[in-house]
């Protein structure tokens, strides 16, 4: 049995890495901190043309008809690049939820637009306080009383909330739902949407953690103290080796969760909670050690490290913290 990704999945990952290196360098992320909307329509369009945005949308609606196992490595790359755009909300949560739980009318209206990059989708799910990028979203997938709704932008208001990460804008929403916004799927669909959200965030966290680690490894090779690179001291080496260990193993958990969602396995929610709790903790360690090993410079505005430190801190909590997912896992395991 082959547990590895396919050659094509690795090619897509490499293509995503090249794309983000060219189109989403740290200077772009910084520019989005200062931008009024914090979003780049040009980048979103380029992402749609390349195939990121419509990846999970069936081919008959203009997408690529791929699944979570195809998407997981791309989400990691988005984390490595600290991508500001709502790829998680649109491609990993809203689009597949519309595919599985939307009415035929909702699907026909939204899916081709999302795949073409003409419509942005976000989500507001029970248990998650904020809707990311609701100010630019054309459609909101909203959970209300256990039911999902697809609410068009003219039927909801987005109220900006303070965000520590200036390139990740969060909102509360006041939405007007009705029978016409209701999606076909019931509570199961809402539960699956939440699983997708937690899993996708865990995947991005894997990339954030990896980037924090990579930046730190290059820094400690360069920074000298007592006449030698600080990375040659065991106190630093051990910290970073331990970090690599937890980051790598947390990725394995998110890969399994991707498979569990894509194949609708019975242990899907358990796999997702394992992934999100591991990924949040692994990133938290990477975050802590990266800042510690960088020393004072890691705090500064001028150094790029904080772009990932703050994204990581925001995502650790998003769609359930490590503690919340461990509690959810325990209640599921002990209930059965």
């Amino acid at each position: 049995m082959n547990f590895d990704f396919t050659e094509e999945q690795y090619q897509l990952r490499d293509a995503a890495r090249d794309f983000f290196a060219g189109e989403c360098p740290p200077s772009h992320v910084r520019a989005m901190w200062d931008d009024q909307t914090g979003r780049s329509p040009a980048l979103w369009r380029a992402m749609a043309e390349t195939g990121f945005v419509g990846l999970t949308i069936p081919e008959e609606h203009g997408g690529l008809g791929m699944d979570e196992v195809d998407l997981v490595l791309l989400l990691e790359e988005a984390g490595r690049a600290a991508l500001p755009e709502p790829l998680v909300e649109t491609t990993a949560i809203a689009a597949p939820t519309l595919v599985e739980a939307g009415t035929p009318e909702q699907q026909a209206h939204w899916l081709p637009r999302i795949a073409a990059g003409e419509a942005i989708a976000t989500v507001q799910l029970a248990g998650a306080p904020f809707a990311v990028d609701a100010h630019v979203a054309d459609v909101l997938v909203l959970e209300r009383d256990g039911r999902l709704h697809a609410v068009p932008s003219e039927r909801f208001n987005a109220v900006a909330q303070p965000s520590l990460d200036g390139a990740r804008r969060v909102f509360t929403v006041e939405a007007e739902t009705g029978p016409d916004t209701a999606m076909a799927g019931g509570p199961d669909a809402a539960a699956k949407a939440y699983d997708r959200a937690a899993w996708a965030t865990a995947s991005v966290l894997g990339g954030v953690a990896h980037q924090l680690l990579d930046m730190t490894v290059s820094y400690v090779r360069e920074r000298e103290q007592f006449g030698r690179p600080v990375g040659s001291f065991q106190a630093i080496k051990h910290k970073l080796a331990e970090t690599l260990l937890v980051v790598e193993t947390s990725k394995a958990a998110t890969w399994y969760a991707a498979y569990a969602i894509a194949t609708d396995r019975a242990d899907r929610s358990e796999a997702v909670s394992v992934a999100k709790s591991y990924a949040s903790d692994a990133e938290r360690k990477a975050n802590l050690e990266a800042l510690q090993c960088h020393g004072g410079i890691g705090f500064t505005w001028e150094h790029d490290l904080h772009l990932w430190l703050k994204r990581g801190k925001a995502l650790e909590q998003a769609y359930g913290s490590a503690t919340e997912h461990r509690a959810r896992l325990a209640s599921r395991l002990f209930a059965s």
């Binding site: 094509e8 090619q11 897509l12 293509a15 090249d18 794309f19 060219g22 043309e49 390349t50 195939g51």
Partner: protein, 262 residues
């Protein structure tokens, strides 16, 4: 119209390379291989012609079996098919021998235009496009930074040290391009997925009509006698200025005068 884009598999430009101490050829297993960056410009130019005027675009690659990943990468940009020339006897071929093999493969093909990068990032000879033109008895418009097509007529802006000259030729012809010609696209995911199912024809030396005695390390016209690693960078001279600029400015002026710049 049928366009053929010869491409090369090269070691990653950013990687440090190792040379085989016995025959001075590159140790290809020690570094990651990529598609020659200059070939991305030629592929982009061919794709723009395809999208504008309609054309079949074929990639041609001479290289070891592993070069198939390079060919697939090229196909992921949306090209229509590929020809790969692979033969153990090719190993170590210089520019002349490479041009001989590519010319052999091209003689078997119909084409209107050959577009290629002006050089490979590893060998950097810039000779192959012109040699290919010589072997095939075709006009060559090299170093093109702009290419216009009007019917069968090609007009290229050829980059020179001081600007550009406008050169013309009738198809069929060979064009080599430089970085300024375009901004290459990213391969789309659809293109990457489709690359696997595009036709790829693999040929050996016999199939392209080239004799093994004309190619390879031993039969190349260029022989490498010695190879020395680049010496480490020397530390520069540091001048401490007192803040007024007089010391620093004088040091710079003295340096430029000593180099006969001023």
């Amino acid at each position: 119209m049928r366009i053929i884009c010869p491409v090369k598999r090269v070691p990653d430009t950013a990687a440090s390379k190792k040379v085989d101490p016995d025959d001075f050829t590159l140790d290809r297993d020690s570094v990651e291989a990529i598609l020659n960056a200059n070939d991305e410009w030629s592929i982009e130019e061919a794709m723009r012609i395809k999208e504008r005027d309609g054309a079949e675009v074929i990639v041609l690659c001479m290289g070891p079996e592993q070069a198939q990943t390079t060919v697939r990468k090229a196909l992921s940009y949306g090209l229509d098919g590929a020809i790969q020339v692979t033969d153990p006897a090719i190993h170590g071929s210089d520019a002349v021998a490479t041009a001989r093999v590519l010319a052999g493969a091209l003689r078997e093909e119909s084409f209107d235009l050959i577009i290629m990068g002006n050089q490979s990032s590893d060998a950097r000879t810039t000779l192959v496009p012109a040699m290919l033109a010589e072997f095939l008895d075709l006009p060559a418009l090299t170093y093109a930074r702009k290419l216009e097509i009007d019917g069968r007529k090609l007009t290229a802006h050829r980059e020179t040290a001081s600007g550009h000259v406008v050169v013309e030729a009738e198809m069929p012809a060979i064009v080599s391009v430089v970085e300024a010609i375009n901004e290459p696209r990213y391969p789309s995911f659809k293109g990457i997925m489709a690359a696997k199912s595009k036709p790829l024809s693999t040929r050996d030396l016999g199939a392209v009509g080239v004799d093994a005695s004309e190619v390879g390390l031993a039969n190349s016209w260029t022989q490498i006698i010695e190879a020395t690693p680049r010496p480490p960078k020397q530390a520069g001279e540091k001048v401490d200025d007192d803040g007024s600029g007089t010391v620093g400015a004088k040091a710079i002026a003295d340096f430029l005068a000593a180099q006969k710049f001023i």
